[in-house]
């Protein structure tokens, strides 16, 4: 564990602030104590600090001059480079300087840099459509390495930008990543990041793992409209079998996940999720077969198994799949050894 708490500065740019709001939903009875336990001293956070205006600018200046060591810099929101590379789409209030410049300078003095959320990691929602603000991530533009800091950039602590992707991020992803960064004995190393710079702690899973609709998935008993209980993959656009995240294992705000909320996983931890190339609520198909097959699954096997399991679907599973509540209960059987 840590000995001295590490200084953390949290800034927001091209985003909605939702990752901060999500962070405040962390599963703890004492958020301040949890931060301390993680080993973090907040220099400044947009929602949680008293300092405002010139007081906040002094905090930043002290980091830049080295008067205050900046151990962890968290950036939430995309880098807005436009128009025409000027960064004018976000001038940090009170400074008339593009936020992009502040982020670059602070990244140069920070021991570690964390991109909080898919906007800061890859561009995210802010880069959707015609990308009107020329938004990008700190070290990625979509799935291409580069972004604001460049592919070769490494922090003073030797890591690339740690991409805690998600829209929003789960509070546990952020707090556990910070805990790993501050852990003196088992500090976060590059082999604990995946090929996109995301912590493997939550990205070595798929959103599909632990999905409460798994029985419907097994039999390809599919939802046909919103509110249906069936599997959301075949018709409703669900990418849970492809999205790297542990959403259905750790759950959100108590008992939640997208699939448990009745709607498709849109793979918000993946670069480019904001432009799927099809309406979010529809599964793109070729000859009736979803294009986006489960990760690591061979197409021929998928088709064969899907066809077999569809024919084997129990009546209960079939009927419940297109209802908004359980209409057929599992039959009661003797489960003792016979």
């Amino acid at each position: 564990m840590h000995e001295q708490p590490l200084n953390l500065l949290w800034l927001q740019s091209g985003g909605c602030g939702g990752c901060s709001m999500s962070l405040l939903c962390a599963d703890t009875a004492d958020f301040a104590a949890q931060l301390r336990q993680v080993g973090i001293h907040l220099l400044w956070h947009p929602s949680l600090s008293l300092e405002s205006g010139h007081e906040m600018l002094e905090v930043m200046h002290d980091c830049l001059t080295g008067r205050t060591p900046l151990h962890v810099l968290c950036i939430e929101g995309a880098v807005l480079r436009g128009p025409e590379g000027t960064g004018r789409f976000h001038l940090l209030a009170g400074t008339q300087e593009p936020m992009m410049h502040w982020v670059r300078q602070l990244s140069a003095v920070a021991h570690q840099v964390v991109a909080v959320g898919s906007c800061a990691a890859f561009g995210g929602i802010s880069a959707a459509g015609c990308n009107p603000t020329d938004a990008c991530g700190l070290q990625y533009e979509g799935d291409q390495a580069g972004g604001l800091l460049g592919a070769a950039w490494r922090s003073a602590g030797g890591l690339p930008v740690v991409n805690v992707a998600g829209c929003p991020t789960h509070p546990g992803w952020v707090l556990e990543t910070l805990a790993a960064l501050t852990d003196g004995t088992q500090r976060l190393a590059t082999d604990q990041l995946d090929a996109l710079g995301r912590p493997r702690a939550y990205c070595d899973q798929l959103a599909h793992h632990g999905c409460a609709r798994n029985e419907f998935y097994e039999y390809k008993a599919s939802a046909e409209k919103p509110s249906d209980l069936g599997c959301l993959m075949e018709h409703m656009g669900c990418k849970g079998t492809q999205a790297h995240a542990d959403c259905n294992i750790r759950l959100w705000n108590g008992e939640g996940s997208c699939a448990r909320g009745g709607y498709a996983c849109i793979s918000c931890t993946e670069p480019g999720f904001e432009e799927p190339g099809h309406p979010f609520h529809q599964t793109p198909k070729v000859a009736g077969i979803p294009i986006g097959l489960p990760t690591d699954m061979h197409k021929a096997w998928f088709v064969a198994l899907a066809s077999l399991s569809k024919s084997a679907t129990p009546r209960r599973v079939k009927q419940n799949s297109t209802a908004d509540h359980v209409v057929v209960a599992p039959m009661i059987r003797k489960t003792r050894l016979k």
Binding site: G15, C25, S47, G53, L57, C167, S227, C258
Partner: protein, 482 residues
């Protein structure tokens, strides 16, 4: 005459800058700048109409559900669909949940910490304020964060997560509620009730409904130890917060929490001190005169609205347009809702001093109690097993509007569908109204006018009076510009 550039403001959602001209220790003139542009209205063009349900909640991390509801209502209007009762109650419950969380967050995290500042050391209430409201570490700040976290589990169950749910759709909800879940959510509501009654009010929620200034004054004499609201009122009296940040003579609410028969719990309407008038939606127009945005032919109705950056535009000083109702500046938020609803205490305080730091915060605090009571009602009304969704069919062509009340005020989405795609999408958020720049007649927005006269001590770079006024509106800057 001296000039001050104040920012970045924190404990508001998003980035905010205020330029002040100061004379004889008072603000003479103010200009409000929303310094960040993201371009959602451009991003949405050409998308499938239902894709709005993915994009618009992501406009804002704090009013995310409100944005979903406004979009779902615009889409429902386009489809001509009416959600079944469960769909209405589930949506209302989520809205009450978000708005209550936002009011709680505003009071404990955003607004009250300013009273712990060193410049107030020596005031009789300062030590108590420091103990309870110090940013992040105050005893009641910590308790409020803990109860908020539990309260938001309502969102986890109903919406899958918060923020950024996609469970709210035209036609109702993607998710029905089972009987045991209904009981579990009841427990979450009870926890919030318990906290509010024990820490914020010191009385049952049902009693947070004072009918007159005398009734409030009498209640105020009670024990400060068991009521943060009483402590706030003590602070407000000491600092004269009722004379700080005077708002305009007109307020707006689109109405909140309509039941399945269409009856509002919080009435819609504009209020001008004499009567509540229905909102004439045709009279809304946005003026981009002082925004870094291209202008059409004068101020435009949002159904014809235009959003095209023009960063070098002379005379522009913000990314926010200036919305006006029949050319008039207005204020929106919890206070406006209570005025339209006819809450007698707040009406009489408004008659004396309009919107101000005291009335805005008091209205929000009183509404918080109402929202938790509303959440209880919604939960009781949900019938497990009854449908929550009605099938919808999108037309290829439609023009529709979706209205909603966010914690911080009136939110409108105007959507045009052509050839089955979004042709135009315009959003007027609550803080677009409250923090609007000047219009082409040079009339300042509500905050710009409210700041005039605020005290600025010699050499003070971030005047505390300005901070109280700004935060009293509970601004959301990411919604403002979107």
């Amino acid at each position: 005459m001296s000039r001050l550039l104040v920012g970045p403001f924190n404990r508001v959602e998003g980035d905010l800058e205020v330029r002040l001209e100061v004379q004889n220790g008072r603000v003479q003139d103010a200009w409000v700048n929303a310094p960040m542009y993201r371009g959602f209205e451009q991003i949405l063009q050409g998308k499938h109409p239902l894709d709005a349900l993915v994009y618009v909640p992501r406009i804002c991390g704090i009013c995310s559900v409100t944005q979903s509801v406004a979009a779902a209502r615009a889409l429902a209007a386009a489809c001509g669909v009416q959600a079944p009762p469960n769909g209405v109650w589930l949506t209302n419950l989520m809205l009450a949940c978000e708005n209550a969380a936002d009011h709680l967050t505003h009071f404990y995290l955003f607004f009250m910490p300013d009273f712990t500042r060193a410049e107030y050391a020596g005031r009789p209430w300062h030590a108590q304020a420091v103990q309870r409201f110090s940013a992040l570490s105050g005893t009641h700040v910590r308790e409020a964060l803990a109860v908020r976290q539990r309260w938001m589990q309502i969102m986890g169950t109903l919406g899958g997560k918060w923020p950024h749910t996609q469970s709210i759709v035209p036609g109702g909800s993607t998710r029905n509620l089972a009987a045991p879940e209904r009981h579990r959510l009841g427990a979450r509501i009870a926890e919030m009730r318990g906290f509010l009654e024990r820490v914020l009010y010191g009385v049952p929620l049902e009693e947070v409904a004072w009918q007159s200034a005398d009734a409030l004054a009498q209640w105020q004499e009670g024990d400060l130890e068991c009521s943060d609201l009483r402590l706030f009122l003590r602070i407000a009296a000491d600092l004269g917060l009722d004379a700080l940040g005077r708002g305009p003579d007109l307020t707006l609410s689109y109405g909140g929490f309509a039941d399945p028969s269409g009856r509002f719990s919080l009435a819609p309407g504009t209020w001008d001190g004499s009567q509540v008038q229905p909102v004439n939606m045709a009279h809304i127009a946005e003026d981009a005169c002082h925004a870094w945005l291209a202008e059409g032919a004068g101020a435009l109705h949002p159904s014809q609205g235009l959003t095209q950056p023009d960063v070098g535009k002379p005379g522009a000083y913000t990314w926010n347009k200036a919305p006006r109702l029949q050319g008039r500046v207005l204020e929106t938020g919890a206070l406006a809702r209570q005025l339209a609803q006819g809450q007698p205490l707040l009406r009489s305080l408004w008659q004396q001093g309009r919107g101000n730091v005291l009335t805005r915060v008091l209205a929000r605090s009183m509404e918080l109690a109402q929202l938790v009571l509303l959440a209880e009602q919604c939960l009781r009304a949900i019938v497990p097993g009854a449908p929550c969704y009605e099938e919808t069919h999108l037309p290829d062509e439609a023009d529709a509007v979706g209205l909603c009340e966010a914690a911080r005020g009136s939110l409108g989405h105007w959507m045009s569908i052509r050839d089955g795609r979004i042709a135009n999408y315009q959003i007027i958020a609550p803080t677009s109204w409250n923090f609007s720049p000047r219009d082409r007649q040079g009339v300042p927005g509500a905050l710009e006018a409210a700041l005039v006269g605020a005290l600025v001590q010699d050499g003070d770079k971030s005047p505390v009076a300005v901070q109280h006024i700004v935060r009293s509106f509970d601004p959301c800057m990411v919604c403002t510009v979107h």
